[in-house]
């Protein structure tokens, strides 16, 4: 065998190992070296997650200690939200196990249970916990805010606003106004809702987490109203407060895609390929950029594999995203419409309406389209992108 120079030898080694690694996923193998890193744990370089792991170990020793369980659940829910990592939802549920099915669980446990169900899009389950909880504890502000959010997602705007109104005087004004702004902006009062929110945000006295939430909300309302300059400003303000928030990144990416700025999506989401909903937006951007063809093809097959994996385990949380994937990336209008309709039966946010309209349009399904137009007429929805989608139909 020819003796290779060190550089060449490494190249050859790299080639061999690339072949080996490429075959991973098809055939199980025995790694060549003990030092090979197989998995990077989420707590690597994240002190908050390392702390969560220690708290979980403490809880494991005292599983019925609510005082330990509550912060574990809170942090796990927070991690699931910011990272878009559903394994933390499993951890949260495990921490709540002693109170998961108990009818007489303490109020805080019921609230966390409802929040977890909301995170998994089990809105009916969430309400089934929140309704009796608020009946017994009408002053529980966090429960009321959570219920308002769930009711808004379900399109029950009047009920949501009633919950928000009863928060007045119990929480910071920005929370009351933000709570109110969501359902109000979706039921014909977008302008007033935005003005109130922008007004309170100008005062800048709430804590950064609440401000980030309110800025994101303001950005979304402004974008729906067609005030793109204001939307951009609010998105930037929110990003400055928390650049890692996955929900915010997704909302901003949607905005950029709508404004036909796919190239701006790349740096925003490049490091978020683990999150399915963010990878989808990244792929949607790459699809529109000819110089991103290679990576787009890769991300497209990654997404297909992930939706397939979710289906195998019986998950249907990301029906909206899967409908978008089927429609825009795979060009399968009928599959997309079936998913969009299933999704619409569960949740009714503007984005859910939008994918329903787009899929119905592509599939030429007048009945599905009528569901959407009836909804818009009934609720006086003001949404530039949704209405633009309907214009094309006519």
């Amino acid at each position: 065998m020819a003796i290779l120079k060190p550089g060449r030898r490494n190249l050859a080694l790299a080639a061999v190992c690339l072949m080996l690694c490429a075959s991973a996923g098809a055939t199980p193998y025995v790694p060549a070296d003990d030092r090979i890193v197989l998995e990077r744990l989420p707590e690597k370089g994240d002190p908050a997650l390392a702390h969560l792991k220690r708290m979980r170990a403490e809880l494991a020793a005292n599983p019925r200690d609510l005082d330990i369980a509550v912060p574990v659940v809170r942090r796990a829910l927070e991690a699931a939200r910011t990272l878009g990592d559903p394994r933390f939802l499993g951890e949260a549920q495990a921490a709540l196990a002693p109170w998961w099915k108990a009818a007489d669980a303490p109020p805080i446990a019921v609230l966390l249970r409802a929040t977890l169900k909301q995170s998994e899009h089990d809105f009916a389950g969430s309400l089934a916990d929140l309704d009796p909880l608020l009946e017994a504890n009408p002053a529980m502000a966090q429960a009321r805010l959570t219920r308002a959010t769930v009711l808004t997602v379900l399109g029950r705007y009047a009920d949501a606003r009633r919950d928000c109104a009863s928060l007045a005087g119990r929480v910071a004004p920005v929370v009351v106004i933000g709570c109110e702004a969501g359902p109000a902006s979706l039921s014909g009062e977008a302008r007033a809702a935005y003005d109130a929110l922008a007004g309170i945000l100008a005062q800048q006295d709430a804590d950064p987490g609440v401000r980030e939430w309110a800025q994101t909300l303001a950005a979304e309302i402004a974008a729906r109203r067609g005030d793109f300059t204001a939307a951009e400003a609010h998105f930037r303000a929110a990003r400055a407060l928390d650049p890692r928030d996955a929900y915010l990144k997704g909302a901003y990416a949607d905005f950029l895609l709508d404004r036909d700025r796919p190239r701006d999506v790349l740096p925003l989401l490049r490091d978020d390929t683990r999150n399915d909903t963010l990878l989808l937006r990244l792929a949607l951007a790459e699809r529109r950029l000819p110089d991103q063809r290679g990576i787009f093809t890769e991300h497209r097959s990654d997404l297909a594999a992930r939706f397939d994996a979710a289906r195998r385990r019986g998950d249907s949380v990301h029906r909206r995203e899967e409908a978008q994937f089927r429609l825009v990336i795979e060009g399968d209008a009928h599959a997309a419409l079936a998913l969009a309709r299933e999704n619409w039966a569960v949740q009714r946010e503007p984005a859910d309406l939008r994918i329903l309209i787009e899929a119905a349009r592509a599939a030429g399904d007048a009945a599905a389209l009528k569901i959407a137009t009836d909804w818009i007429a009934a609720h006086h929805l003001e949404d530039a992108a949704v209405l633009a989608g309907l214009q094309v139909v006519r």
Binding site: C21, A24, P86, L279
Partner: protein, 378 residues
């Protein structure tokens, strides 16, 4: 050193974009008769959660850290997977430890073999990996038999599933259940003793002064046919009703009732109450025996997709097994019917012995105590 860096870099570079995903494990079980082969892919991140794989706590799991704990991993996983055939637990033994990648990262791959005592038509699987640690964990089973595969999902709410019995084509499946039916009647002594108790007097005729030898084989044959037909008809009805969950009786009641039926049938030979209407008794108690067969069928498991076929096969197997007993019994008994040995030893002595054995069963089953096992233990 450079070599290692290249290796490490390649491990990261070649990986696809990993997903954030809820916890799944991928289990494959391949069955060939009583022997099993399996592969279980379990996420390293989940194993770290359960067992703490990251020995140096640097946030990276290396192959060395996995290799060091491979027997712990196997022991942890195997304790949480039970595979049973014919109501008996199969033994599972690890064969090899490997790694692989799935959409959300690296997985430990555990290859194992399994051996069951009896090759039943189905496997009962009890899956409890990460129970208590992650209620959202799912076990995705790919079950392979006769070259066909089917998928089953285990979750915290459904940790037990029955697989198999519906692969390999309708004919093979039917044959399997016929076989199980025959096997069940031949090893189900209570059913055999009940049948024998009713058959023993078939070669006699009841006279006011006692049992007399029957004059014609034809008359005995008709008598046997009536008893067997009535018994068959009755237990077919209740077997079907119970297998389809239309009528469900507590098994303690059923099993005690069966024991009682054996006692009464045997005593009736010694102290006749019912002579020529034995087919009626066969029918009445046959209803109870059908519930007993259904219990055995339940342990085997019925494939949901082709329930009727398996049920019919099992029933037919029971009839065939029972018919074989009759075919052996009748000519022999008829030939010996006038001998002292048959009249005194087989008929009278046999009936008394059956009545005694069945009385013990009755006590055991009704009061849930082990008389025979207590005697054997002394």
């Amino acid at each position: 050193m450079i070599r290692i860096i290249v290796l490490l870099a390649c491990a990261i570079l070649a990986a696809p974009a990993f997903a954030h995903k809820a916890s799944d494990a991928y289990l494959t079980i391949e069955r060939d008769g009583a022997s099993l082969r399996g592969q279980w892919d379990i996420a390293l991140r989940d194993l770290d959660n359960a067992l703490g794989l990251d020995a140096n706590a640097d946030g990276d799991i290396t192959w060395g850290e996995v290799r060091m704990r491979e027997t712990d991993i196997a022991a942890y996983a195997m304790r949480r997977l039970q595979v049973s055939s014919h109501g008996e637990r199969c033994t599972l033994a690890p064969l090899a430890y490997l790694v692989d990648t799935h959409t959300d990262g690296a997985y430990a791959v555990l290859k194992f073999s399994g051996a069951c005592l009896h090759a039943g038509p189905t496997l009962a699987i009890d899956y409890r990996l990460f129970e208590g640690l992650d209620p959202q964990h799912r076990g995705l089973l790919n079950y392979v038999e006769h070259g066909q595969s089917r998928s089953v999902v285990f979750s915290a709410d459904t940790p037990q599933r029955i697989v198999g019995g519906d692969s390999g084509g309708a004919w093979r499946q039917f044959a399997t259940y016929v076989d199980e039916g025959v096997w069940h009647i031949w090893t189900g002594f209570d059913h055999i003793l009940f049948l024998l108790s009713l058959l023993l007097p078939a070669v006699f005729v009841r006279m006011p002064d006692g049992w007399r030898s029957s004059m014609s084989f034809r008359a005995s044959f008709v008598d046997v046919a009536k008893v067997v037909t009535a018994f068959t008809l009755a237990h077919s009805i209740t077997l079907t009703l119970a297998a389809l969950s239309i009528v469900v009786l507590p098994s303690r009641l059923v099993e005690s009732g069966i024991a009682l039926s054996v006692v009464l049938a045997a005593l009736n030979n010694l102290f006749p109450v019912v002579a020529n209407g034995r087919w009626l008794a066969a029918f009445g108690f046959g209803l109870l025996h059908g519930f007993g067969f259904a219990g055995a069928l339940h342990d085997l498991g019925l494939p949901a997709g082709s329930l009727a076929l398996s049920l019919a096969g099992f029933n037919l197997g029971v009839e065939a097994g029972q018919l074989a007993i009759v075919v052996l019994f009748l000519p022999l008994a008829f030939a010996l019917r006038s001998t002292w040995a048959y009249r005194r030893m087989v008929f009278a002595g046999g009936s008394a012995a059956i009545a005694m054995v069945a009385s013990v069963w009755l006590v055991e089953r009704a009061f849930n105590v082990g008389v025979f096992s207590a005697l054997a233990a002394r």
